[in-house]
């Protein structure tokens, strides 16, 4: 009986150790998969290219008044394309808030979307977005060929597009601003250049 009990204990230990090993292996495959996806904001090859003149718009703000987008205002603009129905966009709002505070000396953050006025107006109030200009324009999204959200475009002080990409977290938004400071189009671009050297 003691031998039987002992063997039972040993078998359980071996069993759990094996399951944990399989779990660790599966986790490693998952992590490897995440590693191969780009760490910076992903630039998709659509729309106006980095370095080109940004399409210029003058659009009505949700809160009233107008705002010029893509004009050579001497300040940088971070256009953030979002939708009230995208959870990741919502997650990024507090991050944008702190980022715009931090970078307010040089960068204006503008929120952009399209759709029904009422829906966005409710979203605007609910999420307390009054610190940001919020514009609704299908043409704007078309001009930049936005196909995935949340997407961000950085327009430099001279009205040139300095960085853009799909953003899912703080690091990726920051990578766009850093790309602008360093004068590279994107992290992919930086890596390609570094590899050539």
């Amino acid at each position: 009986m003691t031998a039987l009990a002992m063997s039972n204990v040993l078998l359980w230990i071996a069993n759990i150790a094996l399951v944990v090993t399989v779990l660790a292996l599966a986790r490693q495959i998952g992590v490897l998969n995440e590693r191969v996806t780009p760490v910076g904001a992903l630039t998709m090859d659509h729309g106006p290219k980095v370095g080109e003149i940004a399409p210029a718009f003058t659009l009505p703000k949700l809160s009233g008044g107008e705002i010029a987008i893509g004009a050579a205002t001497g300040r940088s603009q971070l256009l953030f394309f979002l939708s009230p129905t995208c959870p990741v966009c919502k997650k990024l709002l507090p991050i944008l808030r702190s980022l715009s505070q931090h970078e307010r000396a040089t960068v204006d953050v503008v929120l952009a979307s399209d759709g029904e006025f009422e829906k966005h107006s409710r979203f605007y109030q609910r999420e307390k977005l009054s610190p940001f200009p919020y514009v609704l324009s299908t043409d704007l999204g078309m001009a930049f060929r936005i196909s995935k959200l949340p997407y961000a475009v950085v327009i430099g002080p001279a009205g040139l597009i300095s960085a853009k990409g799909l953003v899912n977290n703080r690091e990726q938004i920051e990578s766009l601003l850093i790309a602008q400071e360093m004068g590279v189009a994107s992290l992919q671009d930086y890596r390609a250049k570094a590899r050539k050297r």
Partner: protein, 177 residues
């Protein structure tokens, strides 16, 4: 080994395993409650305001079910509550699978990035079978050393298997993408 004893042991394993799973899920949901609200809303089975309230209550319900499952006296009530919760989750997942909205986050471990799939429904059905077993199993039985070792060992192994299944489903979705 007679029938009653094995039934008792299986019930013990089921309630312990599901209790651990519920506790961990609730912990995830509470840690990332902001994202979790958005995830619940994306299921589109309730109006927005209800989804938001629900996202707050849900982890508490899960914790209640887990706590009730652990205590032998309340384990049947806990299993019943757990069954209701699981039926609700599985129903919402099935509805969205039928709608073709498969790319929403399942919210299984907070914002885990795991998408909806048929595998998820099967996984939930297995958990529900475990809960049904716990609901029906006798709550009092002979607890000796060997029973304890068997129950704890099997529960730990099953919890680890649950996470392995989740991870493999997430991996599979990444390969398809």
């Amino acid at each position: 080994m007679d029938y009653a004893v094995s039934f008792f042991m299986m019930g013990e394993v089921a309630r312990l395993t599901v209790a651990v799973i519920f506790t961990l899920a609730a912990g995830h949901a509470m840690r990332e409650w902001a994202a979790f609200g958005g995830i619940v809303e994306q299921y589109r089975v309730a109006p927005r305001w209800m989804a938001m309230i629900f996202a707050r209550i849900l982890p508490l319900l899960e914790l209640t079910a887990a706590a009730a499952l652990v205590m032998p006296v309340t384990s049947h009530a806990g299993a019943a509550l757990g069954l209701c919760l699981m039926a609700m989750f599985t129903g919402s997942i099935t509805v969205n699978l039928a709608r073709g909205r498969v790319s929403i986050d399942c919210g299984c471990g907070g914002a885990s990035g795991q998408k909806l799939s048929v595998g998820l429904v099967l996984r939930n059905l297995v958990i529900m079978a475990g809960l049904a077993l716990a609901l029906d199993a006798p709550i009092e039985g002979m607890v000796d050393g060997a029973t304890m070792i068997g129950v704890i060992g099997a529960s730990l192994a099953l919890v680890a298997l649950y996470f392995t299944a989740n991870q493999l489903m997430t991996n599979f979705q990444m390969f398809k993408a």
